[in-house]
Symmetry: C2
Subunit: 245 residues, 2 copies
């Protein structure tokens, strides 16, 4: 992990840009994070495009820092300045055509759009997790928050260091990922925007049903994709506080 930028933000939060195995990312640590008092970590998911997403990611990271947690994110495969993935781009075109025609995207389109991302992103996130947890000021436990939900599900299913998953049901989920949700046993908090037209509500409900977690919460709210109410964000924060301490 190579740090290539560093800035101290208001409130003492340290923001460091990094590159890890050619993947760009950002790490935010609160002023309280020291080698004698290492802090928990939240992996911040996003839909891809670190530069475009930066203001929202930094707001979420500062919120994490306020709770005493470090936050880290990495660019998704095929997004931002990373080389595009041809099969995903073709699937995205097919998805747009289906939606424009008022059709439900086929399972095949969803698989081609999402599965390559999952296959490539999950090992990358786990490798970044290895590197971040080697820093003396970051100690875990680790949670994931938001982003492409299929990536979050796979991460929660395969990565034993993740103790809680706060997920946003705002992107399509391949059937095979719904099956993998049956392997997830950590506490799960799923936000669903009930009127999100670019999402498949029934798929989100099927996914929620599949989690094997003893503690799982679905919170559905009125509104479209970007309309998550403040109180729902607050409830999600309390979910992380319950499980990260």
């Amino acid at each position: 992990m190579h740090f290539d930028s560093e800035a101290r933000l208001d409130g003492g939060v340290l923001r460091r840009g990094f590159t890890h195995d050619e993947v760009p990312g950002v790490l935010w640590t609160p002023a309280s994070a020291t080698s004698s008092a290492p802090v928990p970590l939240i992996l911040l998911g996003h839909p891809g495009g670190l530069r475009r997403m930066h203001p929202r990611l930094e707001a979420r990271a500062r919120h994490c820092a306020g709770l005493g947690y470090a936050a880290a994110t990495v660019e998704l495969p095929g997004s931002g300045e990373r080389p595009s993935i041809a099969v995903v781009e073709r699937a995205r075109t097919d998805l747009r055509q289906a939606i424009a025609a008022g059709e439900r995207p086929s399972d095949d389109v969803v698989d081609r759009l999402i599965l390559p991302l999952v296959e490539q992103a999950v090992p990358e996130w786990r490798s970044v997790l290895d590197a971040v947890l080697e820093l003396p000021e970051v100690g875990g436990p680790v949670a994931i928050s938001g982003g492409v939900i299929a990536v979050g599900v796979r991460l929660a299913a395969v990565e034993p260091r993740i103790v809680a998953a706060g997920l946003f049901a705002g992107s399509y989920v391949p059937r095979s990922i719904i099956e993998q949700a049956r392997l997830v046993t950590v506490p799960v908090h799923v936000l669903l925007q009930w009127d999100d037209r670019g999402n498949d509500r029934q798929m989100a409900l099927d996914l929620f049903d599949a989690f094997a977690s003893r503690e799982k919460t679905l919170q559905a709210n009125t509104g479209g994709h970007t309309g998550v109410p403040q109180f729902a964000a607050d409830d999600a924060s309390r979910f992380f506080a319950r499980h990260l301490g």
Copy 2:
């Protein structure tokens, strides 16, 4: 409204048993409630059987008092010491037979079980509301909390003094009541126990979808009918605090 018992509980909460038009009920008011500082009111729903439900109702009422709210409840038609309703009793037998046979209860059984309750209970609750709001120490606004969800939906649809509805999706809902949910515009917070075997999950989702409220939240949690987690109860409290002040 005739008060027939009175007790001062720990913390200064005043509990008064009452009879109103031959219907028994209980009113709890916090010590802070005075004619110069009248408090908001929460109507506490329940499945019927005031005596049996008393410990849980009083715990909820004391929680309300801790938030600065009065709480009132009344016996349901056909429950506790009130005369039973023959059509409802027959429907209850049919419901038990259907469940024992592993069948989904028919719409007809649900209608016969629930609609007579709704028809009789809603005017009774509204009449009790008239009487309680005449007390100088209770001023409103008014919310409803839990109980037979079809009663809560009808109340929220027809009673303009209700500004918020916290509902528990734990009992069957007639199709006609789902239609009436389209008239509900106040903020709604619906708790659903995802693994409640005595409930119809899809019916609860259809009901949630029907509310016309600009703010509506569905919170579904792992567990059976009586397993609502503490954090979900806390989230519901915050819902009331947002809307009752």
